[in-house]
């Protein structure tokens, strides 16, 4: 089972399944300018929040971005 993913857009790493067994929905942070304190949305931003159709069925994530790759996998028991 994948225990940690790395976002292909922002490079952030995260646990898709949290310790309590629930899903974590990664979304890329904006690019932040510490001088002007202005943040700007990242191109190809990844957002794993679920979108639903008219019948409230899950049809995918909001934005795929550049995908995510597994960087840590739990050993098989």
């Amino acid at each position: 089972m994948t225990t940690k993913l790395k976002c292909g857009t922002c490079g952030g790493t995260y646990q898709p399944i949290q310790a309590d067994g629930l899903r974590y929905f990664h979304a890329c942070p904006p690019v932040y300018d510490p001088v002007t304190k202005v943040s700007q949305e990242r191109p190809d931003r990844r957002d794993e929040n679920i979108i639903v159709d008219g019948a409230s069925r899950s049809v995918g994530i909001r934005a795929e971005g550049k995908g995510a790759v597994a960087v840590e996998v739990a050993p098989e028991l």
Binding site: C7, C10, G11, G12, T13, Y14, Q15, Q18, A19, D20, L22, R23, Y24, F25, H26, A27, C28, P29, P30, Y32, P34, V35, K37, S39, N49, I50, V52, S56, R57, S58
Partner: protein
């Protein structure tokens, strides 16, 4: 009460074979019990305030943050021929943000009682349900009465009659520990309240490692939504270059200068409720490309919010 009425009540029923029940609708598993007693049917109070007509139906709606949860709906119906029908249904709702709804065509009779429970573990705040009674033609008119609504606890189902109606964000929610995204060097922390949920942020912890590039950094906690920035928690201290500092924002603490160097604590508003899509941002003015935040550790109280 006349002698004739008393006789109606007290006289055991004749030992005759009960008529075969009508063929049940599909997807309506039930068992029947032959009546052991008979009742007066004229001039008496009905056994239940809810009578299910031939065109009535029940709809069970569910919102949950838990995958693989089993929901159980159980009903008892007294038919006009005196037979009690017990109906049991199992459902497996999809997790948020899906809205789950199942419609059950019910037999004609008095609804004596029912409940909605769960199979497995379902912490408070994990699954909110609503059981509606619809009147009219199948699929036509909308719900006419809400029989049940509330969070379904593991250790006791929601029952009808005499339920306590509860709104989805009422009462205590589910406590969750969440480890957010480790943003990598040069990036800020940004966490989002997921779709279909409401959070109360209790505390947030992270570390901030500064590079050797000269200059002080000031670490802020920001809250934003679609209208922009609406709350900023400034730091009480500045962090120098080439250092690692430990930041905690929490309800119940004051902004203070720590006795232990580089352990900083900042306050949060006591009732900081955040709706789906709200942003929690940690950023530093004076931040350099080599500065690095850790993954944030959040303690939140979470509700399902359809």
């Amino acid at each position: 009460m006349s002698e004739a009425d008393q006789a109606d009540i007290l006289t055991p029923p004749e030992q005759e074979v009960a008529p075969a029940p009508a063929a049940p609708p599909e997807e309506f598993p039930f068992v029947t019990l032959p009546p052991q007693v008979s009742f007066a049917t004229g001039g008496v109070m009905p056994p239940s305030e809810v009578y299910l007509g031939t065109n009535d139906w029940l709809t069970l709606q569910a919102w949950t943050s838990i995958s693989g949860l089993e929901l159980r709906l159980f009903l008892r119906v007294l038919r006009a021929d005196g037979q009690i029908i017990q109906c049991a249904y199992d459902y497996w709702p999809q997790p948020l943000p899906a809205t789950n709804a199942w419609t059950v065509n019910v037999p004609e009779g008095f609804l004596l009682g029912g409940f909605v429970g769960v199979g497995g573990t379902c912490p408070t705040g994990g699954c909110y349900i609503r059981l509606n009674l619809g009147a009219g033609s199948w699929g036509g008119a909308g719900p006419a009465q809400v029989l049940l609504k509330g969070y379904v606890p593991t250790n006791g189902p929601l029952s009808w009659p005499y339920p306590r109606h509860q709104n989805p964000v009422e009462g205590p929610g589910r406590l969750r520990r969440i480890k957010g995204t480790d943003p990598g060097p040069g990036n800020i922390i940004m966490e989002y309240v997921p779709s279909g949920t409401r959070w109360k942020l209790i505390s947030l912890f992270c570390t901030f490692t500064t590079s050797a590039t000269a200059g002080n950094r000031a670490v802020y906690l920001y809250f934003l939504d679609s209208l922009g920035l609406w709350l900023a928690v400034p730091p009480g201290v500045l962090q120098p270059a080439s250092s690692v500092a430990y930041y905690t924002w929490s309800i119940g603490v004051q902004n203070y200068t720590p006795a232990v160097a580089l352990y900083y604590a900042m306050p949060l508003p006591a009732d900081l409720y955040l709706q789906a899509g709200a942003d929690i941002m940690v950023a530093a003015s004076g931040m350099q490309a080599g500065d690095d935040f850790s993954a944030p550790q959040l303690l939140v109280e979470e509700w399902v919010e359809p």
